[in-house]
Amino acid sequence: MGLKHRGILRIAYVRLGLNDNRLTQSLNFYRDRFGMLESMRDSERAYLRCWHETFQYNLVLEQTAENQLIEIGFHLRDEEDLDQLTDKIEAAGIEVEQSPANEPLKGMGRSIAFTIPGGQRLRLFADMAQSGYVTGFESPDWVTPRELRGTAAPMFLNHVGLTSADPGATIDFLANVLGFGLSEKIVSEDGKTLSGLLFRMCRDVGGQELAIFPGEDGHLHHIAFTKEDPNDILIIGQYLREDGINIDAYGPTKQSYGNTFSLHFFDDMGIRLELCCGGRNIDAHPESEPIIWTESELARALSYYDSDVNPGFLDHSL
């Protein structure tokens, strides 16, 4: 029976390793100032989720000797998908590491992890425990919880930006092996793919779960979270500034590339974060056509409201 949404169905979490004794600094940022909910904590890790999420975590923080992006987690439909994707990834010549349930992360079914051509690690799994909606399942008030008001209080993890020395090869792998679609791309004047926005989740609003930018392999460019609309983002920007948080030189802007309204800023470790809303409307269909940008239009693509590219914006942040 084929009429099923298969494969990767949601971007689940980002796992960061931070040189942060007892995770004090990062928990202070992500829980208390950024406004995520702490679902679990053990001696090694803190598991945080966005308030509109039922699944246990969208961000996993753990203490490591050096700051690093450990992995990005994607939720599959079922175990059958896990087996099929394992075969496809191995057939592409990429080594796949198998992990039993609850390892390395709690609340997760058995999983596979592998390194994509851009050097970052992805983990795929079919099961994740749910904390339940913080607003409850019975006649809820879908309103930002009182204790989070005045923080960024993101609703969902939206997408993750990565840097890659060969963006074209990374994009090809994500599309051909993992089944991502391309909603937008930036090409050089001679037609080389420099950047792409990839989406997978039968998604008709959004258009990106992974954004690939040119740069050093293995790094994180930014992590983006969902807000309801631009007005929210403008108001949250006030809270961030009042709180002394370092806001990117672009300030709030319309990102033509991806069709979002966005605000970029940095956590206490220097990791670039984004609050965004809107997005490109596209569906997970073989005939969907990507928007194509040429590099000469980069300034307008990255920020419609600013007159030139903010050079620092192209750097990875972890």
Binding site: G2, H5, R10, G206, D229, N231, H285, W293, T294
Partner: protein
Amino acid sequence: MAISRFSYANVRVMDLQKAIIHYTDTVGLRLVESDDQRAYFQADECQDHHCVITTLSDRAGIDHVGFKVNDPSDLVEAAEAASAHGLAVRDVPLGEIAGQGPGVMITLPSEHNMLLFYHADKIGYAGGMHNPVPGVSKNKIGAKVSHLDHTLLSCENAQPTVDFLTEVFDFSCTEKVVDPGGNIIAAFMSCTNTMHDLALGPGPNGTFHHMAFGMHSRGEVLEGVDILKEDEVPALEYGITRHGIAGVTTIYFHDPSGNRNEFYNGAYQSPGRPGLVPPIIWDVENFSRGAFYYEDAVPPAFFDEVT
């Protein structure tokens, strides 16, 4: 593979010219093509041929809803599955509906016609496909609708349709309203990552409650209300409000044949395997807050009057 999009609604109208003026000048859709029987419209931020068809008729209401599948073989499979479920199925040949490939029309237990198809002709985003203009042009006419988001169809008993959509077409039920006996009064069904693509509410079988147009911000919904007022479009008594169910900013209004439309903004996402996250349950006691969050009351006409 699967149903990948709620693609369009084909609504019946009693005056085609008035419908064209409404859906372009007021709602802000692009008129793609028309003849003396039908007009085809698309929102600015969709690349397919149409999201609304208006068909000349002697009554208002819904002719059919169109959903796109992302594998041509899905059509055969869907037709077989629907037939096995005892539903009426007919082939819709190429050319019967402009701008799309052949499809299969399935009559749901709720007596609504649902057309599945694979191919849509491309007209591109209004801002273009190459180095596009991201904002809204100063010459933009009508409201700033981004896309057709969802529809609410009315029927006497939603349960068999909910069962069919979940079991056969892989929809998830994100929220539902139930009576004290546990019977479904309304169900919000998703085949994408959003909160609902197709909702079912109470009313005579085969009738149309509304179709909703998505916007990028609450500010655009407010501007949309101003346009409705200036154009003297009849709107529901409560004006702009918020649905407690889904938590979105919204206004309902009517096209020139009385078909209900909605402008709406919200960011509720529900990706993942259908059925994995249990549905939110609204009981009758809290339904008024669920329907109209600020007012905490439901105007009698809200479910009584459908087209």
